[in-house]
């Protein structure tokens, strides 16, 4: 029955499934003999190995979920994966069942895409970098010492000749937790580097509107509290792919408890197909107009909760404006068109968003007529030019409905109380900076969230931080920013790139063709990663990094309600090593104390993650207590400094079980009803906003956003075309379609794109509507060429009746594979098409990139993704 699960058949499977050569990286395991490979007997294999807990630290959802992987290991080789199946499964404490990405982690960790050895590009030498060959060259294996010597020499050269501002560390400057990279600490100790991490990627344009309009961050109901809602009115919800874990299950449960689900989306996505009672198709990026159209109908018919608005909000009407504001600038008069003579009627909204005026009226009445409404909007709804406008419109709509602060009435862009929240229900201790000694990047400016805090910057030349979206074109142009910044645009002269820190930014940031030009223009590019992904393919020297499975031995978290233990599943494959080794070895070569770069020992990291683990005892008071009982013997075994402590479970129990799940019950002390205290007594418990109230009119928000200079907004929600070349309303004859880029369960961003079973399950497709496909003679499976002003990709079309006409989708994270003859990307990375346009709080505005899609008639062909070999470093022996 099937194939017995032995190490031998595993190695054989590696060959078959990967379409590449066998994986023989396991130390101590001889390559299998031919006769052993023919073994296909039907007897069930005896289990002689061990079940361990393998981390699934994929950045799949910004903290919404992480899941349990139990990994069966025999002779040091992982053979099977199971998930949380044995514990009781209830809606209060659901099993943490892994998604397909988790289930495929053996294939990922042992993929032929692993970088096996330190490698150097054949055409590169210190004196002749031959940069044009990056991404095209052959490779040769070198020793760790050679590689580290080369890297240290090149880094030293750059520091000496041009200083830290000549180095792009292509990742975050404060990378911590599961993505911690001590190499960044080393760079910080050397005077820092430039990072392309100004602004937001995942979070869109939400943080500052939430902060300034509501006085907090990441407020959301918890997974049980949503059962109190009668209506779940969601903009852009594909939780199964975007949040994963139990989130879609919890919403489905809430629906079955009586809450109607309405999802406003450009497509009837996979989650909506299951959970939505109604789908409202909408042109991507036009939700602001839709909300304002509904607001008009509410105002016209006096359906808004005027008492709530009067008591808890400022800015809705002329009678409730904050001090200093022109009464004429209130929201109500904007909607009615009192002064601009343009009433924002449902018909006005329909012309923009495509939702029929009659539906806008009906939905407005349904919202107003429902007592308890759970408003939610996905992060990407604000990834549009001037995206803060939708955050403003969204909160305003929820405030017009009223009831915020009471059970069942919520407005959040997080959806469920989760790990991104500042107040998780349980957490691991800090394994990346538990000693508090990690050096910080001296070039980082004071920040408001993730953009510069101008008021606190004394010297405009004192800092560097490049925005994500425009980074590549900025490097090519030699400057970044806006003229209105204090000191004006900033010069930028990058000579060296370090491509590590768990980032694949050549693939992951807009305008990837410019990224390739940047990589090729550099004096030197080096990378460190477990996988030979596109960013590493364009390097001069790459170092093989050990995965989470090969490091392990920490407690970790990333969602609100679980702390996981990570066992070491296997020894580092091939010659891979942890980042800590790289940081220390480079430190020695760069005259930095290795302990200044790698500030904790492995044992100290383990201990810190365990001793700092906490669980919440009360949500209202933010009470926390230690999670683990740690004995002196535990401390002695690790050989670290520490003190015994009492908690809910022993370290041994935690490791054996593999995780801790927060016990929950509906309406328990952990229940999250945001703004509860404010609702109960707004005088005694004012919000942390400038007026102490919800700010429908928020002068501070507009003033700050406008000072960043990427786009301009009003203090109230107003619809606008935020960029003349991007988004709904700017389509041209040449580029008539709006691109948006949903997540795929095939990947966590770019991670896992090397896995055959996932490639099979989710081909990288151009999703298009039946209307647009028919107009172009395109059928499902046809190869189509997607073209934007910034590049071209070739992919099979999937023609669907479930996408709004005028919009096409290409899922994020596919690995770039450029056809050198034509320059066309055969891998299908949407960033090849995306425009380099920062917006608002330096957020990305890529929903609504203008594209054309045509049936492809040229000579290129594509095999199914599952049969397309993984890109391997040419010249490296297997």
């Amino acid at each position: 029955m099937g194939t017995p699960l032995t190490r031998r058949s595993f190695v054989k499977w590696g060959t078959a499934a990967a379409g590449a050569t066998a994986l023989v990286g396991f130390t101590g395991c001889a390559a299998p003999e031919a006769e052993e490979l023919s073994e296909t007997g039907d007897a069930p294999a005896e289990e002689t190995g061990t079940w361990l807990t393998g981390a699934c630290m994929n950045n799949c959802s910004c903290g919404s979920s992480r899941c349990l992987l139990r990994v069966y290991v025999e002779d040091g080789v992982p053979l099977k994966i199971r998930t949380d199946e044995e514990d009781e499964d209830s809606i209060e404490v659901p099993q943490r069942r892994a998604c397909p990405r988790g289930r495929a982690q053996i294939s990922n960790m042992t993929s032929p895409a692993r970088i096996k050895y330190p490698m150097k590009r054949k055409g590169w030498s210190p004196d002749a970098p031959n940069g044009e060959m990056r991404g095209r060259d052959e490779w040769e294996r070198i020793s760790w010492d050679e590689a580290l010597d080369y890297i240290a020499a090149e880094m030293k050269k750059a520091y000496d000749a041009y200083g830290p501002r000549s180095i792009l560390a292509a990742g975050y400057d404060d990378i911590g937790d599961t993505y911690f990279d001590p190499v960044i600490c080393l760079l910080n100790a050397k005077g820092g580097a430039v990072h392309h991490d100004m602004g937001t990627v995942s979070l869109g344009s939400w943080p500052l509107p939430e902060l300034m309009m509501t006085g907090g961050m990441l407020a959301a109901p918890d997974s049980l509290a949503i059962q109190d809602s009668d209506l779940h009115f969601h903009f852009g919800n594909n939780w199964m792919a975007n949040k994963g874990g139990n989130t879609a299950y919890q919403l489905d449960y809430a629906k079955r408890e009586g809450g109607k689900v309405i999802i406003v989306e450009p497509w009837l996505n996979q989650t909506a197909q299951a959970v939505a009672d109604e789908w409202v198709p909408i042109v991507p990026g036009t939700d602001t107009a839709f909300c304002i159209g509904m607001a008009y109908h509410m105002i016209e018919n006096n359906l808004q909760d005027q008492a709530f608005l009067d008591k808890y909000c400022v800015g809705f009407d002329a009678e409730h404006m904050p001090e200093g504001a022109d009464p004429k600038d209130n929201f109500k008069d904007y909607v009615l068109g009192t002064y601009d003579k343009e009433p924002k009627t449902p018909e006005w909204a329909e012309a923009i968003c495509g939702v029929p005026a009659a539906d806008i009226r009906r939905l407005a009445e349904e919202i107003a007529g429902t007592e308890k409404v759970n408003f939610f909007a996905g992060q990407s709804t604000t990834k549009i030019p001037a995206g803060e406008m939708f955050a403003q419109a969204f909160y305003t709509l929820a405030m017009m409905h009223g009831g915020l602060g009471t059970p069942g009435n919520y407005a959040s862009w997080v959806g469920l109380h989760e790990g991104m929240s500042a107040t998780p229900y349980c957490m691991a201790g800090d394994s990346s900076n538990g000693a508090g000694k990690n050096p910080v990047n001296p070039l980082t400016p004071p920040l408001v969230m993730s953009t510069p805090n101008w008021a606190e910057i004394e010297d405009p030349a004192s800092w560097e931080k490049v925005d994500h979206s425009e980074c590549w074109i900025s490097i090519l142009n030699g400057e970044y920013g806006r003229d209105i910044w204090p000191g004006g645009k900033k010069p930028l002269d990058i000579h060296v790139i370090y491509s590590g820190a768990y980032q694949n930014s050549l693939n992951s940031l807009p305008n990837a063709n410019a990224a390739i030009k940047v990589f090729r223009k550099m004096d030197f590019v080096w990378g460190a990663n477990p996988f030979f992904d596109p960013s590493r393919q364009y390097c001069d020297i790459v170092l093989p990094v050990a995965t989470w499975w090969e490091k392990g031995n920490i407690a970790w978290m990333n969602n609100s309600d679980t702390v996981y233990w990570a066992d070491r599943i296997m020894e580092p494959l091939f010659e891979s090593k942890p980042e800590g080794y790289i940081a220390e070895e480079l430190a020695k070569r760069l005259d930095v104390d290795p302990t200044a770069a790698n500030t904790m020992t492995d044992a100290e990291r383990t201990y810190s993650s365990l001793a700092g683990a906490m669980y919440m005892t009360d949500h209202d008071t933010m009470g926390y207590a230690p999670l683990l009982t740690i004995s002196q013997a535990d401390i002695d075994e690790l050989g670290v400094e520490g003190a015994p402590q009492e908690g809910l479970m022993t370290v041994a129990e935690f490791k054996e079980k593999g995780f801790f799940k927060i016990p929950r019950q509906k309406d328990d002390a952990l229940t999250s009803v945001p703004w509860k205290a404010f609702y109960a007594d707004p005088e005694a418990n004012p919000l942390a906003t400038s007026t102490g109230k919800f700010e429908i009119y928020c002068a501070g928000l507009a003033a700050y956003i406008n000072s960043v200079g990427f786009s301009t907004i009003s203090p109230i929600a107003k619809w606008q075309i935020g960029d003349p070349e991007q988004g709904a309303g700017t389509q041209t004859e040449q580029f008539p379609l709006l691109l948006w880029t949903p997540h795929s369960l095939r990947r966590a961003h770019t991670v896992n794109d090397n896995v055959v079973s996932l490639r099979e399950a989710f081909p990288q497709e151009c999703f298009m509507s039946t209307v647009d496909a028919e107009a172009r003679g395109i059928k499902t499976g046809d190869l189509v060429l997607m073209t934007s002003p910034h590049g071209q990709v070739l992919r099979p079309a999937k023609v669907l009746p479930t996408i709004v006409p005028g919009a096409v989708a290409l899922q994020d994270g596919a690995w770039i594979r450029i056809d050198e003859e034509t320059g066309i990307d055969l891998g299908g990375d949407p960033n090849i098409l995306q425009a380099p346009k920062s917006s608002g709080e330096a957020s990305q505005s890529w929903t609504g990139t203008l594209v054309q899609v045509e049936k492809y008639t040229g000579p290129l062909t594509l095999d199914p993704d599952k049969n397309t070999p993984i890109v391997m470093p040419v010249g490296i022996e297997e």
């Binding site: 892994a98 009746p801 006409p805 005028g806 049969n867």
Partner: protein
């Protein structure tokens, strides 16, 4: 004889394919072999409006997770020329004896659900056996069932599944009419179309199936 059956609640399925991938990864199936697959059936049209947009008319979509149905009158067993394809007396599980199978693919053609799949390297047919070794060793349920993040799949003795969930309806698009006594009990999605109604289409790419 006891007959085991799968239960599938189509109204809960989000098409995440955890069932398919967990199975494929556990049994180390080749790139072109699946024991379980997830079908997406969609339909409806769009009408232009005066404002230059379109409005949907009867647009719907839903998923069906499909493995072998371990049919009571299994066509694969009836048509197998070598006797490799067998129905277990005690459990009703349909399985393939790889020692006997010659890889002629007759079963694949005969099966209305296309469940058996040909292993190129081994030269024999593969199919879902309801994780029967796993069940024998540990009890419990098949991997696809215990892994489903939406709790849309279940498994057990057919009568018990019916008692728990009702008879359901296995004759929904894109599945054919039930001519083989399929031991799959489906709770239909609210938009489910009857088999043969032809109102929509399977939208998966060929390479997914």
């Amino acid at each position: 004889m006891t007959q085991y059956a799968f239960h599938f609640d189509s109204s809960k399925c989000t098409g995440c394919k955890t069932c398919q991938v967990a199975c494929k990864e556990t049994y180390k199936l080749g790139p072109n072999n699946l024991y379980r697959k997830v079908l997406n059936y969609q339909g409806g049209t769009w009408k232009p409006t005066e404002t230059g947009h379109y409005v949907p008319e009867g647009v719907f979509g839903y998923f069906v997770s499909l493995a072998c149905n371990h049919c009571t009158d299994a066509a694969c067993v009836a048509n197998c020329p070598t006797g490799a394809m067998q129905k277990d007396d005690e459990t009703g599980i349909v399985w393939t004896d790889h020692e006997v199978c010659i890889g002629c693919k007759t079963c694949q053609t005969a099966c209305p659900y296309g469940a058996p799949t040909f292993a190129e390297d081994e030269g024999y047919m593969l199919k879902c056996d309801m994780c029967k070794d796993e069940l024998a060793a540990k009890g419990g349920k098949p991997i696809c069932v215990t892994g489903c993040p939406m709790r849309a799949l279940d498994f057990g003795i057919r009568e018990e599944m019916v008692a728990a969930y009702g008879e359901g309806d296995v004759e929904i698009e894109p599945l054919p009419q039930n001519t083989t006594g399929a031991n799959l009990i489906i709770e239909p999605h609210r938009n489910a179309q009857k088999s043969g109604s032809g109102t929509g289409a399977l939208v998966n790419l060929e390479e997914e199936l």
